[in-house]
């Protein structure tokens, strides 16, 4: 008991070091989403290419989806688009674009220039729907399962390392899940 008491300050300091050490490697810019494992927030947004048509949560029905938030004014999105373009054709999920606070003409010109890997793009010109999704910047990426639940959120551009580590195993798992 006595030795335990004597050792307690040292143990305390080690505990503190461990906690601070961990803090060194955490990224405070990445805010964990409270929407994980919940149904996607319902939305109704115009199709970027055809503003008369509205897109909604039906997009995610019975499909594994990667929802990528981007904007033509976003510099990091260009870099990310270069990567997405190379992997999108062989991805075992549909890519849906979420055009955030953008001008329609600029957005379409941007896609012409950097490629369009998306099977559909919802345009959130005002950025109001984005608030329901907890979006606070670009790029951000959501992975949505067949039952319309958000399973993963990635903040910042997807790199090859992120893709290998976080997306590939998850997509394999989601594709293997039976309804």
């Amino acid at each position: 008991m006595k030795t335990m008491l004597r050792l307690s300050p040292i143990l305390l300091i080690f505990g503190l070091i461990a906690a601070l050490w961990r803090g060194l490697y955490s990224n405070p810019k990445e805010i964990p989403s409270p929407l994980l494992n919940k149904l996607t927030p319902s939305f109704e947004l115009p199709n970027l290419f055809n503003p008369q048509e509205n897109l909604n949560n039906q997009l995610f029905k019975d499909k594994v989806t990667i929802l990528n938030v981007w904007a033509s004014w976003c510099a990091a999105c260009v870099e990310e688009q270069m990567f997405i373009r190379t992997i999108a054709p062989s991805t075992s999920a549909q890519w849906i674009g979420f055009n955030y606070k953008d001008d329609r003409q600029n957005a379409m010109a941007w896609l012409n220039r950097y490629g369009n890997p998306y099977s559909a793009i919802a345009a959130d010109t005002q950025g109001v729907v984005a608030l329901d999704w907890g979006i606070y910047g670009t790029p951000e990426t959501f992975v949505i399962d067949r039952k319309d639940r958000i399973r993963y959120k990635h903040i910042g551009p997807i790199t090859f390392a992120d893709w290998q580590k976080d997306f590939v195993p998850l997509l394999a798992k989601l594709n293997g899940e039976v309804d």
Binding site: L5, L131, G137
Partner: protein
């Protein structure tokens, strides 16, 4: 004697962050009342203190939020200080110039106008952005250490202090 040429003024402009009120050339007329070294010192002070101030004044909260009652105004202003901006994370929603903060201010404004309670507005933000937006985190499983540890350390410290004092008394 004026040691500053227009090129100097131009160069000084560079140090001013991208702000609306770029000072020197237009402000020169009221400094020219002073001559020589005084002017130089004044100019330095001007750039050190006035530019950032005018920068802050022109950039913060450009939107106007009008309420019909002062209670609502007060409620709105208090609410803004309770939530963290997601981009500039040390700033609250009242201080932040980030676009997302402006969007959230607008949402809170609409909700206060609709007469929603503080709790429901807080819930609106927390369901979307998590406890992270709160400056005062709630007591939960993952925040127990945060809330309990200070008290634990305090009682532990007092206890060991008591033991030490007791021992000393016995010895003397």
């Amino acid at each position: 004697m004026n040691i500053f040429t227009d090129a100097h003024y131009q160069a000084m402009n560079v140090f001013c962050p991208p702000c609306e009120n770029r000072g020197p050339v237009s402000n020169r007329h009221w400094i020219s009342a002073f001559a020589g070294r005084t002017k130089k010192i004044l100019l330095i002070f001007l750039f050190l203190f006035i530019s950032p101030l005018s920068f802050a004044a022109t950039q913060t909260n450009p939107d106007v939020y009008a309420f019909s009652t002062t209670t609502d105004t007060a409620r709105f202003n208090t609410l803004l200080t309770q939530f963290r901006c997601l981009v500039c994370q040390n700033e609250n929603l009242a201080d932040s110039n980030a676009a997302i903060a402006a969007d959230l201010r607008q949402q809170i404004y609409q909700r206060v106008l609709q007469g929603q309670s503080d709790e429901s507005i807080q819930k609106y933000l927390v369901t979307r952005y998590g406890d992270y937006v709160l400056f005062a985190p709630p007591f939960k499983m993952n925040t127990t250490a945060l809330w309990i540890l200070p008290f634990l350390l305090l009682t532990g410290g007092l206890l060991s202090l008591g033991i030490v004092i007791q021992r000393r008394r016995k010895n003397t």
